[in-house]
């Protein structure tokens, strides 16, 4: 039996890496006495798959995981049982049956909300810089990977940047990016690009992943 779960990761746990999340959930499942399945072989791993990694330091209300169980369980109380034993800051929001037509690995769009203070930057400057980024054909950034650094054009991976609201000197910016197999770009990289254009520090207070879904030209499909 395979269940899909939507969970949130808030400020208290935003520095936990992707790898640490796996361990954290494995232990939580054991504490909740839920019968998760393990891989066979030399080094058994729990059968949990996650959505594409969230950069360290970013909060989210839209993370998903698929979890396989070795026996059927009632899905009604899974969320409660887990929430009782999860560290503060991690919370299961929704549990459902896995839609096999939509594996988590095909999700290709992430929406973030970035909250920043306009201390040194004024709104006009910011709007102008956002516009430049949206109209550039090519934004080459250096990406450090396991196999070394490589140069990537992130321009086609940025789907949209919208100024949502500004309340005094606090501004909210919505950013939609590509994620998953076609390539992904962390909003942190976009902030760096903005700073390059602004030629000063852009004081980001928080970045939050709000949505994660699959999209083609006409449709937007949520995983759960």
């Amino acid at each position: 039996m395979k269940l899909r779960m939507k969970f949130k990761k808030d400020n208290l746990v935003k520095f936990i890496s992707h790898l640490d999340m796996m361990r954290t959930f494995e232990r939580a499942f054991r504490r909740a006495d839920l019968p998760i399945a393990f891989t066979k072989g030399y080094n058994p791993r729990p059968k949990i798959s996650f959505t594409p990694a969230l950069s360290v330091g970013i909060t989210s209300s839209s993370e998903y995981m698929d979890v396989e169980f070795y026996e059927d369980i009632s899905i009604d109380d899974v969320a409660n049982r887990l929430n009782r034993v999860l560290p503060k800051g991690l919370q299961i929001i929704k549990v459902g049956i896995v839609d096999e037509k939509l594996p988590l690995s095909v999700l290709n769009c992430a929406v973030y909300v970035l909250k920043a203070a306009l201390n040194t930057v004024n709104l006009q400057e910011l709007k102008k810089s956002i516009n430049i980024i949206l109209h550039q054909e090519e934004i080459i950034v250096e990406k450090v990977t396991k196999s070394g650094t490589k140069f990537v054009n992130i321009a086609p991976l940025i789907y949209g940047i919208d100024l949502l609201s500004n309340d005094g000197n606090i501004v909210n910016v919505k950013i939609a990016t590509s994620i998953g197999q076609q390539g992904s770009v962390s909003p942190k990289l976009i902030v760096l690009e903005l700073e390059k254009l602004l030629k000063k520090k852009f004081e980001v207070l928080n970045i939050h992943r709000e949505e994660l879904f699959y999209t083609d030209e006409n449709n937007k499909i949520l995983p759960l």
Partner: protein, 657 residues
């Protein structure tokens, strides 16, 4: 700006920010208004090392069982974060409530290895607490220490306010109770300055008048400063009365012309002549936590730990733990099974490790492992058995355990020839080793680790060659079974012998750095002829410094301060350790390190650590030294009692073996 706010800004800039986050599952949050004593439990190394240590976990959970005590954790920040902390004037803080360490009532360090001492000084500096105890006043926490290295407390004598010698589960609560009564004025109500603590929190709550007792306290003005220093002194005199507590500032050390210690004596009549270690009598009723903190990051020992017994009956002559943790006291299988189940249920760990000095010596080991593997098979919890001795029986067990999870096999013959193994009283033979290895290879293992020490008393090149011969013999065993050596890995590693206090070798000298170098080179040459064998060795310079501090006296406190000022820290970390800075520090302090490391002591020498009574008699240790000189083996205590002295610690005896 609060520390939490500052962390928001700084943590994205550091490696492994989870080291400083706190908020792990099972970590404890308390309302600070409802507590009376706030204690910081500090481990002088990074989070992932400190969080792997059992002692600090036991004390953490034990103390937090009391509603009016709040114990929090503090670790050494890694260099990248330390740099940021200094640049942003962020003081060292506790993980749970992010309180500056300087605001605690007590700050307790655990001393697991000598090379962590400079980190203690660095942590005090980052906390803005004076490094030398005499410079602290009532506004500062009491800085205390315990753990195996506290059996020779002297190198830290000028730094610590006091030490707790031995097992601390009972002593620590006695100390805290005393502190509580001091702070609320129960012991010495005559002195008004006594009642009001100099601590900020106490001062603040007295202003709020929420606490009647504190509400009556006269305001703390500068005039009472001197008196408050008095209070600190009086507390130290009181705490020195608690068995197991050593207050170094209350003792005077005099020296002979040759630099050796002449005498250590109390400065006043009411202070004990000797400090006897604390021992827990009943291991089944002593507190043991089950709701261990579950870290997010991968720590060094990332598993549940089940302590099965304390002490060891083997009597290896180089081993300090085998001497100072006597007598052997086991927990019952029944208690252990219950603890294991509770620990897994409350932590969710995927592995549980049995902890002791010599796992195979647990009297019901077979029964225990069978019960635990059965209990945990379904939920994929693996069992690990470290410190297994080499024999067929333990191999049988290891096989059973490996049903769930596989790992390499480690053997510790310690020395290369039978003669030298007899000298150190490590009662294993070459046949034992080769039979077990053969068994292991037949059962599918192909990686073995072999641990040895070099520089043991009386060691010759023949003994070194014996190390290599053993390694090649292991390769031959594999070849005989499989017809080839493909896939076989024999990892040989050596460390350099460090003579330790309260062992039969406490009178011995360490070999010189150039000899360490020569002997390691010799082994390298011998061991590189086989592709299956790899050789690694412990840095001789570190072993030299360990030898200095393990048998050092209180003149080394100054050396520590100078080394710290020169930037020594994380000495156990290769990439940070600087031997040159250390040598410069010894030079500047005019304290020759060779005096401590290279000197063979005469049997009547007064040792700096003689002030401590670990329950083991010096006469017994001397007898053992004499036997070692004749390469005579002393059998396991369970075969015959050798009158080590431990029964002195309790009326009617102690040791059941």
């Amino acid at each position: 700006m609060t520390i939490e706010k500052q962390l928001e800004e700084l943590l994205p800039q550091v490696s492994k920010p989870t080291r400083y986050m706190g908020n792990e599952y099972n970590s404890i949050k308390k309302d600070q208004n409802s507590i009376k004593v706030h204690i910081a439990l500090a481990f002088p190394d990074v989070y992932e090392v400190g969080m792997s240590h059992l002692g600090i976990k036991i004390l953490y959970h034990l103390l937090n069982e009391y509603p009016d005590i709040y114990a929090e954790r503090v670790f050494a920040p890694w260099v990248d974060f330390e740099d940021l902390m200094r640049r942003h004037s962020l003081p060292l803080f506790s993980l749970e409530s992010k309180t500056p360490v300087s605001e605690f009532d007590l700050l307790g360090f655990t001393l697991q290895y000598e090379m962590s001492y400079t980190n203690i000084l660095n942590m005090l500096e980052l906390s803005k607490i004076p490094i030398f105890s005499k410079e602290r006043s009532d506004g500062h926490p009491f800085v205390i220490a315990g753990g195996p290295c506290a059996y020779n407390p002297e190198p830290l004598a000028d730094i610590m306010d006091f030490f707790v010698i031995g097992e601390a589960e009972e002593a620590i609560t006695e100390i805290i109770n005393l502190y509580k009564s001091f702070n609320t004025g129960l012991i010495c109500p005559k002195s008004p300055a006594f009642i009001g603590s100099g601590r900020q929190r106490a001062a603040k709550s007295s202003m709020d008048s929420t606490n009647i007792q504190r509400g009556t306290i006269p305001s703390l003005n500068e005039g009472s400063l001197k008196e408050r220093g008095e209070k600190r002194k009086r507390f130290l005199e009181e705490v020195a009365q608690i068995p197991g507590v050593y207050v170094p500032s209350l003792y005077r050390v005099s020296y002979n012309n040759d630099g050796t210690v002449k005498n250590v004596s109390p400065k006043q009549d009411n202070i004990p002549q000797k400090i006897q270690k604390r021992v827990i009598e009943d291991m089944d009723s002593v507190y043991y936590p089950t709701s261990f903190i579950v870290p997010y990051m991968n720590i060094v020992h990332d598993r549940a730990v089940l302590e099965i017994f304390r002490g060891c009956t083997r009597g290896c002559r180089f081993c300090q733990a085998g001497m100072i943790y006597r007598p052997v006291r086991e927990k019952s299988v029944h208690r252990l099974e219950k603890l294991a189940k509770d620990i897994i249920a409350s932590t969710g760990y995927g592995e549980i490790s049995l902890a002791s000095l010599s796992t195979s010596d647990y009297s019901e080991l077979k029964q225990l492992t069978e019960i635990l593997t059965d209990d945990f098979r379904k939920c994929q919890v693996g069992l690990s058995l470290p410190s297994l001795r080499i024999d067929a029986f333990s191999l049988e067990l290891a096989k059973k355990v490996q049903e769930i999870k596989k790992s390499g096999l480690t053997f510790a013959p310690e020395a290369g020839t039978q003669r030298l193994r007899n000298v150190i009283n490590k009662g294993v033979t070459e046949t034992d080793l080769l039979t077990s290895v053969k068994d292991a290879f037949s059962s599918g293992w192909n990686t073995v680790k072999l641990y040895f020490m070099i520089g043991l008393p009386t060691e010759t090149y023949e003994d070194l060659k014996g190390i290599s011969d053993l390694a090649y013999a292991v390769v031959d065993v594999y070849r005989k079974i499989h017809g080839h050596t493909k896939g076989l890995k024999v990892n040989v590693s050596t460390s350099t012998f460090v003579p330790k206090p309260f062992t039969p070798f406490q009178w011995e000298k360490q070999i010189t750095l150039s000899k360490i170098d020569e002997r390691q080179r010799y082994l390298r040459k011998l061991l590189r002829k086989s592709k299956n064998i790899s050789y690694s060795w412990h840095d001789g310079k570190l072993s030299f410094l360990e030898a200095v501090f393990s048998r050092g006296d209180r003149r080394l406190s100054r050396v520590l301060k100078i080394a710290h000022d020169k930037g020594c820290k994380f000495d156990g970390w290769n990439d940070i350790f600087s031997f040159d800075k250390w040598m410069a520090a010894f030079n500047e302090a005019d304290v020759p390190p060779e005096f401590y490391a290279y000197r063979k002591r005469s049997s009547d020498e007064v040792f700096p650590w003689d002030i401590i009574d670990p329950g083991i008699d010096k006469k017994f240790l001397l007898r053992e030294l004499k036997r070692s000189e004749k390469a005579q083996v002393t059998p396991d205590c369970r075969i015959r009692c050798h009158a080590c002295g431990i029964n002195r610690l309790k009326d009617g005896g102690f040791c059941e073996t």
